[in-house]
């Protein structure tokens, strides 16, 4: 009895340790995706925020792209480039198939700003275009402490840059390797075909055996196969994105690879 209790207790400790490891691997904490404007730093007044939200929602319905504005209390000791792409991946901004998502990240305490560009927008919202928007539209206003003006103008410019011939880039975004069937899918298919073939063959053999002798199973019969039963099976390994909790209902599964530009003021 005591022994069983010990074993259960050990398992609990192991579970806790695993959780700690998982958290440590993440290291950064991210604000919750509460809407298209996440004002974690609290630098936008409600009316500006509402106006931005409307603009971003309209952009989303018109183009199927997704742009989210986020202000951060702290970069937690890392660079805005590092934080930006991890936040984009964490929130999964942009549609999964197209990866058309972008983030406008403002960190007022570190005086840094960044446009983080999803894979699907890298063609239109290039690094150079992002840099120009930051240097010409955003930074001069942020220097004057006009956060609403800088962010508003930045959003306008990003929308404009992305709206230009978006059709052509949609096709390009689809070619991301993530969306192609993985080798695993093929392997799994082959494996099941193989199993199916084995079944058919063994059944066919046995039928023949019965027909010829009329006696019990002869050739097809073998001893039972013993295989250790794992704790869980069927982990297919294919990527099921879009399952993050707290996604605010509209994180689409888009991914980021470090595209975009940053600036400081």
């Amino acid at each position: 009895m005591l022994c069983r209790f010990r074993a259960a207790w050990d398992r609990v400790i192991l579970g806790v340790l695993l959780c700690v490891v998982a958290v440590a691997a993440y290291a950064l904490t991210f604000p919750e995706l509460t809407g298209r404007v996440v004002d974690d730093a609290g630098i936008l007044d409600p009316s500006t925020k509402a106006a931005l939200e409307r603009k971003l929602a309209e952009f989303e319905t018109k183009t199927t792209g997704q742009l989210v504005v986020v202000t951060l209390k702290s970069l937690q000791g890392t660079s805005i480039e590092d934080y930006g792409y991890q936040l984009g991946r964490h929130w999964q901004i942009g549609q999964k198939e197209k990866n058309t998502g972008a983030l406008l990240v403002v960190a007022p305490n570190e005086r840094k700003v960044r446009i983080e560009v999803g894979y699907g927008f890298e063609g239109t919202l290039t690094d150079a275009v992002s840099k120009l928007i930051i240097e010409n539209s955003i930074i001069p206003r942020l220097r004057a402490n006009d956060f609403a003006g800088g962010i508003g103008r930045g959003v306008d410019d990003i929308i404009q840059a992305v709206s230009v011939d978006s059709e052509e880039w949609k096709a390009r975004a689809k070619r991301r390797p993530d969306d192609e069937p993985s080798l695993l899918d093929v392997l799994a298919l082959l494996f099941f075909l193989f199993v199916f073939f084995m079944i058919v063959r063994s059944v066919a053999r046995q039928d023949r055996g019965y027909a010829q002798t009329g006696a019990g199973p002869r050739r097809g019969a073998r001893g039972p196969i013993f295989i250790p039963i794992p704790g869980s099976w069927g982990s297919s390994g294919s990527s099921w994105s879009g399952g993050f909790p707290g996604g605010g209902g509209f994180s689409g599964g888009g991914s980021f690879g470090g595209g975009g530009a940053s600036g400081s003021w």
Binding site: A128, P177, L184, A221, P224, I227, W233, G259, G260
Partner: protein
């Protein structure tokens, strides 16, 4: 007891075949090839981003030459480092060959260093710094360096998963039976000092 030793009748054989299939895939028989493919995909991402950087350099060098032709030394260094990095043949086998991998990494790091020195030198030329073409190139280069670091980190993560699978249970069973040709992959040694801009004495 008797039912385990019992020679199964007809319907049992298909049942065992199906069970065997499900259990084998449950034992992670697919994991090694899956992680292998994923790591290789990440590796080609790394290569793409390094290639993208190499493609930017000729234009950058030309633009800088137009304003700062006297900085011949640092310009030559960049061009040579780029040529050296491009000469190295990189393919899928590079990741499992420590010597080749190190050669690749060293060459790319040398190019990173040379580019860093070039960008520091450029600070002395206000005309060049305000040139629109140069600004565009510079932002592209910055963006590419950032993409490289993201791609490298993704690669490191997926190689870690792959190598761990090769060495831990139950992957180690499959590695020593079905997948003997699968070798552990090399990974980048994170050299943080390279990420910092080099100090240059004038």
């Amino acid at each position: 007891m008797s039912h385990t030793l019992y020679v199964p009748r007809r319907p049992r054989v298909p049942l065992f075949a199906v069970l065997a299939g499900l259990l084998l895939s449950g034992c992670g028989v697919n994991n090694i090839p899956t992680y292998d493919e994923s790591a290789k995909a990440k590796w080609s991402d790394v290569q793409n981003q390094y290639q993208r950087r190499a493609d930017l350099i000729p234009n950058l060098v030309e633009t800088v030459k137009g304003y700062a032709a006297q900085e011949r030394e640092v310009l030559t260094q960049v061009t040579e480092a780029r040529a050296k990095a491009s000469q190295i043949k990189v393919d899928a086998s590079t990741v499992t060959d420590p010597a080749k991998f190190k050669e690749f990494q060293d060459a790319q790091n040398a190019l990173t260093g040379a580019l860093g020195r070039l960008l520091v030198t450029v600070e002395r030329y206000p005309d060049l710094k305000s040139n629109q073409n140069f600004l565009a190139l510079q932002s592209q280069l910055e963006g590419t360096e950032n993409r490289i670091s993201v791609a490298r980190r993704d690669y490191i993560d997926s190689v870690r998963a792959y190598n761990t699978e090769l060495k831990t249970f139950p992957g180690v069973i499959w590695a020593s039976t079905l997948y003997r040709s699968y070798k552990p992959m090399e990974t980048f040694t994170v050299a943080e000092d390279l990420a910092k801009p080099p100090t240059v004495k004038f």
